[in-house]
Every structure is written in structure tokens, then in C-alpha cells.
């Protein structure tokens, strides 16, 4: 059994498993502490210097690296902490290319959120002036782009590719104020060992790693990926009758939110214009559009006459319910066990 600790955050009673950081315990309890480089899936690094809290009235400490303890009293802000956070934000903003209304991350940008939380004033946004950063955007990957001018160097992408994907395709390049994030070997993403799974894009707190065709779905439906036998849990994002996004289901034991390139980005076949939309029946040697009644009547007539000379191939892509019906149909209606599928291929 994991032991739990009870303590307070801003006077609220909070319970968390021992070993949890104060920051993750707060987030899990719905209490916001500004942060950029922390992600609950990853080990903390404490590099963004935003998640300061005061414990039992002491000096500011980083909530992401502070384990919960029984009986402690955490304050998520005070005048000193507010001042420190504003200063960190001024530095970050001076380095940040801002096209917020056109940015793919605008709807869930952590930088915007922190700025709003701190109540950053116009003079604080411009006090340090802008640095002369105009680095080229890497658009080599067909599904996402990397804009180093929006990168806050939180390292979440680096740690994701290491700790979650186990690939280490992303790293820090250069030193000091020249530091940038880049694909292994300082190559364009598409020419590196990157597998395009998009786990880093999913976790980037700003618009640096962002999908090329972002679409916020009007609604999401919980389902299961159709590609391989892993069976990852997904949320299918929909607008009208079009699938516009797929994201990993973090609560599914199979994949805990992880997806691969096909699962996350390979959904455009669903609404592809090549989809078959009407029954086709061969007439004078050519497949011609027809309707369900004509097609089904013809099939029933031909199948009736073919008993004893009939076979069916079911599909490893169809659902259990459909495969159950196909074999039942073959056995009951066609009186044969000539039913198989491509399990061996």
C-alpha cells in the first residue's frame, strides 16, 4: 500500500500519496500553481522557476521538487513569489515570438495562462524589449512544426521522447542564450530518427511544437484505435460529420494516453473522398453505382444458389459483433464452415 500524506494548500485540506510533489498534488486537487516545465508524466527538473510556493511560511521553494509531507502548510503565493514570477515571465516574454491569435496553442497555452494569472501589465510585457530572435521554423514533418521562436526551453519534449517514448530523438543544442531544442543530430525532424508519434507535440505547453492543421473538435468520442493489435484508447474529435482530431485516452490501461504516428495523425482516411458511398453492381463488365435493395436482392439470390460452393472471408478490421454475425451467417444461412480471415497474414 502506498502511504498517503495529509496537509493543507492555501488552507485547503489535501491528501496525496507520499512521494508526490506538492505541485502534482495541488494540480490533482484542482489547485493551480503556475508552472511551465512540469508534467505529471515526467520527472521534475525545476528549470522554469515559476512554481514557487512557501511551505510553513518559509522561503520560496519549487513545488515540483518538494515532496508532500504530513502536516505541512503550503501557500501558493505571496508578495515575494509574485514578484519572482513576474520577473521570470518578463524574461520569457522578451524571448517569445507572439502571434497569439494565430497560434495553434492559443486555447491551452501555459504562457498565456500564467500571464493572465499573474495579471501581467502591458509595461511588464515590453519592459525588457524583444530579443533579435528570428530562427527558422522546422516544417519538415508533415504533421507538426517546430517554431524555436516560441520555445520556452522547458524541456518537456526532450524528457517526453526519453522517458515516455524511449527514443531520445530530441535534445538541447548549443549553450547559453543560444540554446535551442532540436531533433537528434541537429537535423530537420523529418530527416532525424523521430518517429512522428507526436507525444512531444501533445505535451508542449506553448506553440513551439504544434500540429500543422490544428482543429479543436466540437465534441470528442471515446473509442479504440483501428490500426494495430495494441488497441490504444483514443478520443475521436469531431466537427459535424468530420473527424478532425485524435488524442490518446489517458485513462485507458492499454496505452495510458500514448499513441503512435498512425493512431494520432492517420485519421484522414475516414472522410476521404475515395470512400465507397454507394453499393456497386457489375453491369456489362463494369462496376456501376446502384442501391441497397438491388444489391442485397442480387446477393441473396446468388448466395441461395451457391450452397456447397460458397466461402467467406471475415475481417480482422471489423468489430467482434460483426465478425460474430459473419460466421453465424456462413454457418446458419450457408450451412458451411468455409469461413476464415487473414489471421495468418
Amino acid at each position: 500500500m502506498t502511504e498517503t500524506c495529509s496537509f493543507t494548500i492555501d488552507g485547503q485540506e489535501v491528501t496525496a500519496a507520499s512521494g508526490t510533489s506538492v505541485l502534482n498534488a495541488a494540480s490533482a486537487s484542482g489547485i493551480y500553481i503556475p508552472h511551465l516545465c512540469n508534467h505529471p508524466d515526467l520527472k521534475p527538473t525545476g528549470s522554469c522557476r515559476l512554481c514557487f510556493v512557501s511551505i510553513d511560511g518559509g522561503k520560496p521553494r519549487m513545488a515540483c521538487r518538494e515532496p508532500v509531507k504530513d502536516g505541512i502548510s503550503v501557500a501558493t503565493s505571496n508578495a515575494v513569489i509574485q514578484r519572482m514570477r513576474v520577473q521570470v515571465m518578463e524574461l520569457l516574454i522578451a524571448d517569445h515570438y507572439m502571434d497569439c491569435l494565430a497560434c495553434a496553442a492559443a486555447h491551452d497555452c501555459e504562457l498565456l495562462k500564467i500571464s493572465a494569472y499573474l495579471g501581467m501589465r502591458p509595461n511588464q510585457l515590453t519592459r525588457l524589449g524583444k530579443t533579435e530572435r528570428n530562427l527558422p521554423v522546422d516544417g519538415s514533418n508533415p504533421f507538426f512544426q517546430f517554431d524555436p521562436n516560441k520555445c520556452v526551453l522547458c524541456g518537456i519534449c526532450v524528457r517526453t521522447c526519453d522517458e515516455i517514448v524511449g527514443l531520445r530523438a530530441i535534445g538541447y543544442i548549443h549553450w547559453g542564450d543560444k540554446t535551442v531544442i532540436g531533433a537528434a543530430g541537429n537535423r530537420p525532424f523529418a530527416e532525424s530518427i523521430c518517429e512522428s508519434c507526436g507525444e512531444c507535440v501533445e505535451r508542449c505547453p506553448v506553440g513551439a511544437l504544434a500540429p500543422k492543421t490544428p482543429a479543436i473538435p466540437a465534441r470528442e468520442v471515446q473509442s479504440t484505435c483501428v490500426y494495430c493489435g495494441v488497441g490504444c484508447g483514443i478520443h475521436v474529435g469531431v466537427r459535424g460529420d468530420t473527424v478532425v482530431s485524435v488524442s490518446g485516452d489517458r485513462d485507458r490501461e492499454t496505452n495510458s494516453g500514448s499513441l503512435c504516428v498512425k493512431g494520432r495523425f492517420g485519421f484522414r482516411f475516414i472522410n476521404h473522398p475515395d470512400r465507397l458511398t454507394r453499393p456497386l453492381v457489375r453491369k456489362n463488365g463494369e462496376l456501376k453505382e446502384s442501391n441497397w435493395d438491388v444489391a442485397l436482392d442480387l446477393i441473396a439470390e446468388k448466395f441461395r444458389k451457391s450452397k456447397g460452393r460458397f466461402a467467406a472471408l471475415a475481417s480482422a478490421k471489423c468489430t467482434n459483433e460483426e465478425n460474430y454475425l459473419i460466421q453465424k451467417f456462413v454457418r446458419v444461412a450457408m450451412r458451411t464452415n468455409n469461413i476464415d480471415h487473414c489471421a495468418r497474414l
Binding site: P142, E195, S196, V230, V261, N271, T277, Q327, L345
Partner: protein, 541 residues
């Protein structure tokens, strides 16, 4: 699967995906996990990063080897020799789990006798691997427990595939690596619902839940459940169906969501069969290469347009939900099959929803007895799950195996080389594998522009030494010929293939690899040997 049924009594992955996190040794043989099962590949790399010993055995230097501490590159099709050699070493050095063998297995003496043939000299000569490397991983597998084995088509797609699977099971039994978390014999199933299609009885010899069609008691049970008379003779397998079409025994084919012109070994034979059919119905979401031969093509709804369940490789039954309406006038497959059945006056096909079908599945399939939509709302359940109070089964065989008597069975094995070996006329061995960016015959993935951009066409992966011998430069168009035909493809020179070995996927209809692959069948499982085809390669001028 037949190999595992013979050895253990059940033909599915014994353990769970999450077990990768608790295994201390993970041995991946004949599986290109980061391409074919990417999220499991991530998990294996993560486990290796967190301290597990990852052993990769593959004729190709696949990407997963970069995360592995041990990589063995045997000659293709020699797994039985390798695995039996490992078992022999483990037994001879006293590393076998004797109490497990005594308590939970049978046939050990006959098995040990059959190991006599697998001398170090024989194993080394057959696999091409140094003996010290083989004993090293055997020792790790036997001692750094819990140890799990994962395999895929690299083990099964051979004319001796059943033997290879039995050899894997033998190794797990020798070390007692079964029936506990982090252990197991874990076949990774390829397609999203191949496990489910097997579970649902889309096989010529079994009803749903692996219940045999030639068992009169079972037949009676289904006759009463379905209110119909049922045939008692097992039917034809996939490959046999195409043979029967060519012989005239079958003239009508109903095919749902398959594209054998690209996926079946020796696909020229499939083409001949499809041309010969009197009546051919295809039900699919796209007009596949195979569908162009059909007399009627029925437009099916995609997974995003219907409700239902898929069963993944770890036996977990999970929900699929309708997110959008069926595109155009397409219909879910369950609706289509029901309407055909009704028109033929077959009883019992008026279902109101997939959930109603699942309720019937619960009644007739013991392993799915307790898997209701209500219970799999969020996380799915792993079969066997006989009743609605049962929590599901994360790992099989904790106390007994599913064979009669409850014991697992060792299999004495005689090494058989692949049906084709390299010779003067066909001096190279071609093996097939998968690309991360495409799926099977790629009817879906090639309609995603980004995936096509990341992997646009077929490549023949060829070792530079072989390329030099035949005067081939990187990017050259070449002809790859086997005893069955010729395909044209561009060569990519890479040392991921050992000299003498080359590889292609089968995702691209422009270079239909399965036109030339070997349809030599495993005598029991009827699986074709697509992993070993003798070929010649020559540059196109």
C-alpha cells in the same frame, strides 16, 4: 496459434501489455515492435531505460535493437535451432526450473531426448551465431526473472511456424516463465481485431470461444442457440479457399474488409482465383485492388461510424463508438450481414444494435460470458471473463494450463530448414516486414497525405556487399525475382540486413511483394512462409 494451443491449451498472449513494466528480461524474437506495434515498442524501450534487460533476436537490425542490451542476428528461419539450443544449455547448466517442470508440465523426458540433436556445433552452424552469444542470452533469460517473450509473424510465418511457436513455449516452460506477472509467451497480434475475429469463430474449425465445430456436444449447443442445423465438417482455411476456387470447388466468395491481392503470399494465384469466381461480393470502405474483381461491392462504415468492440492483443475487449454518421450511403457491417441473412430467410438476425449482438455472444461464448457493454464502458476487460462478477484475467495459467489435465506439454522438435534456401539461381533470401507509417495493404494509410509523405514508396533493403556484387547503387531500380514472379522496386543500401538477406514491406501495390513470396504452408497452422523467399536481384538499366 495452433502451436500455443498444443503446448499451453490457449492460443493468445498469456500476459498483459502492462507486464512489460514488471518484467526484468524482455526477449523480443521475430517481431519489429516499434514499427508494427509502436506503443508496445515505446513501452519496451521505456522498460529497457528503467533497467530491464531487452534482448532482440531478428535477422534484421530493427530499430528496437538500439534500445536493447543484447542483439542476435540469426539466419532467417532458424529460430527452432536457436531456441532449442538455448533450452538445452539451460537444462545442462542446471538453470531449469525443476519444480515447475515437475509440477506443471508433461512430456519433459521426450523433449530432453529430442534436444540431443541440438549440439552447440549444430546450433552454431544452423543459426550462424557464436555459441557464447547464445549461452549469454540463455543464461539471462533463465536467471534474470521474471522473463517474458514477445513474438510476432517473424516466428509464425514459416513453413515450420507451428514448431517455432512450440520452441518458444518450450523455453518458457523450461524456466517456469509462465503464469505470473512479467512472464509469459506473448504473440503480438497484427491487426486491430485479429484476436477478436478468432475469438468470434471466424475460423473454419471453431465456433466463438474456440469451441470445435466437430465436437457433437458443441454443435448441438449452437444448433439450439441459433435455431438451425449446422455443418459438422471443418471448413477450408484462407489459403485453401483460394486453391478450391482455382480447382472449381468454390465459385462464390463473400469477402469483408480484406485485400488478398496485396496480402496473400504468391498473390498471382489469388488473382487467378478472383478472375475465376462466378460471384464475388466485397464489403469494404475503399475500392481495394481485390474489390475491382467483384460483382457487387458494398460500402461499409468505418470504425468511427459504428458501435461495437475490438479485442486487442492482450485479450482486452474494448469499446468502439460511433463518432460520426456513416459516410454517404455506407452501412455498418453488422447491418449489412443482417440484411443479407434476412433476405435469405435465415433465423435470428434481427438485432436492434451491436449491444444486442454482444448479449448473444455472452450467452454462447464462455470466455466472453461476463463482458457486457456496461462493464467495459471505460477500460475494457480481459478474457477469460466467464460471468459478470469476474474481474477479467490479466495473465493466464496462474495455477493450471488450459489443456486436459491442466498441465502444459513440452514439444520434442526436429529442426526443419525453410522451404526455400538460397541457391545459385536465387542467391538471396527475401523477408517481409512492416513500415511504421503504413498498415497492411495501406488502403487507409496511403490516403493520409502525411503518412505517404513520410514513407512514399517501397524499398528493397539490401546489404551494400550484396549490392556491389550485383552492381546496384543506392536508389537504383531493380528487379526482384523468385520462382513465382518478378517485382520492380528501388534499392536502398543498408546494413540493417545481414549479407545474403534483403527485405521489403508489402504496403505498396506498385511493388506487390506478395507476388513473389513463398506460399509454402505450415502443415498444421496453414500459414505461408512469407518470411523466407529465395530471390535474385538485378539492376534495371
Amino acid at each position: 496459434m495452433t502451436g500455443l494451443v498444443a503446448s499451453l491449451g490457449s492460443g493468445a498472449m498469456t500476459n498483459s501489455i502492462a507486464d512489460i513494466d514488471v518484467a526484468r528480461t524482455i526477449m523480443v524474437i521475430g517481431a519489429n515492435t516499434t514499427s508494427a506495434h509502436p506503443v508496445i515498442g515505446h513501452r519496451m524501450r521505456r522498460a529497457a531505460r528503467n533497467g530491464a534487460t531487452l534482448i532482440v533476436i531478428n535477422p534484421k537490425e530493427i530499430d528496437l535493437t538500439h534500445a536493447a542490451s543484447h542483439f542476435l542476428q540469426p539466419r532467417p528461419g532458424t529460430d527452432v535451432a536457436l531456441l532449442m539450443g538455448m533450452a538445452r544449455y539451460i537444462i545442462e547448466t542446471g538453470l531449469a526450473d525443476e519444480s515447475f517442470i515437475a509440477a506443471r508440465t508433461e512430456g519433459f523426458a521426450e523433449f530432453v531426448a529430442s534436444l540431443q540433436a541440438y549440439t552447440p556445433e549444430f546450433v552454431v552452424e544452423t543459426t550462424g551465431l557464436p555459441w557464447s552469444r547464445i549461452t549469454e542470452i540463455a543464461r539471462i533469460y533463465a536467471t534474470n526473472k521474471p522473463s517474458s517473450i514477445f513474438y510476432a509473424m517473424g516466428i509464425t510465418q514459416h513453413s515450420h511456424g507451428t514448431d517455432s511457436v512450440k520452441a518458444v513455449a518450450n523455453l518458457a516452460l523450461v524456466t517456469g516463465s509462465l503464469g505470473a506477472p512479467g512472464t509469459g509467451v506473448n504473440p503480438l497480434r497484427g491487426q486491430n481485431n485479429v484476436q477478436g475475429a478468432c475469438d468470434m469463430g471466424c475460423l473454419p474449425n471453431v465456433y466463438p470461444g474456440s469451441q470445435r465445430v466437430d465436437d457433437p456436444t458443441i454443435q448441438k449447443k449452437f444448433e439450439s442457440a441459433w435455431n438451425a442445423q449446422l455443418p459438422n465438417q471443418p471448413g477450408l482455411t484462407h489459403t485453401e479457399i483460394f486453391d478450391a476456387i482455382c480447382d472449381g470447388g468454390i465459385d462464390t466468395l463473400y469477402m469483408v474488409g480484406e485485400n488478398p491481392l496485396l496480402t496473400e503470399a504468391n498473390s498471382g494465384h489469388v488473382r487467378a482465383a478472383l478472375e475465376r469466381l462466378d460471384f464475388f461480393v466485397v464489403q469494404d470502405i475503399f475500392l481495394s485492388e481485390s474489390a475491382t474483381y467483384a460483382d457487387v461491392v458494398l460500402p461499409a462504415a468505418s470504425f468511427a461510424e459504428k458501435d461495437g468492440t475490438f479485442t486487442n492483443t492482450e485479450r482486452r475487449v474494448q469499446r468502439v463508438r460511433r463518432a460520426i454518421n456513416p459516410v454517404g450511403d455506407s452501412r455498418p457491417d453488422w447491418w449489412i450481414v443482417s440484411r443479407i441473412a434476412e433476405r435469405m430467410d435465415a433465423p435470428g438476425f434481427s438485432y436492434s444494435s451491436p449491444e444486442a449482438i454482444m448479449r448473444e455472444i455472452n450467452q454462447v461464448t464462455p470466455s466472453y460470458g461476463g463482458i457486457t457493454y456496461e462493464r467495459i464502458e471505460n477500460n475494457g476487460l480481459q478474457w477469460p471473463c466467464p460471468d459478470t462478477n469476474y474481474p477479467g484475467t490479466p495473465y493466464l495459467f496462474p495455477e493450471k494450463f488450459s489443456r486436459p489435465g491442466g498441465k502444459a506439454c513440452f514439444s520434442p522438435l526436429t529442426y526443419r530448414p525453410p522451404a526455400e534456401t538460397a541457391d545459385g539461381q536465387y542467391p538471396l533470401i527475401l523477408t517481409t516486414d512492416r513500415s511504421l507509417f503504413h498498415f497492411h495493404s495501406s488502403t487507409m494509410t496511403r490516403r493520409v497525405a502525411g503518412l505517404s509523405a513520410l514513407d512514399a514508396n517501397e524499398w528493397l533493403c539490401l546489404h551494400p556487399a550484396d549490392a556491389e556484387r550485383y552492381g546496384i547503387a543506392d536508389g537504383d531500380w531493380v528487379e526482384v525475382s523468385s520462382r513465382r514472379g518478378t517485382v520492380k522496386v528501388q534499392a536502398r543500401l543498408t546494413d540493417v540486413c545481414q549479407p545474403g538477406l534483403c527485405s521489403m514491406t508489402f504496403h505498396f501495390h506498385e511493388s506487390p511483394t506478395n507476388l513473389i513470396t513463398n506460399p509454402a504452408l505450415d502443415p498444421v497452422a496453414k500459414i505461408p512462409e512469407t518470411k523466407v523467399t529465395a530471390v535474385s536481384v538485378r539492376p534495371l538499366l
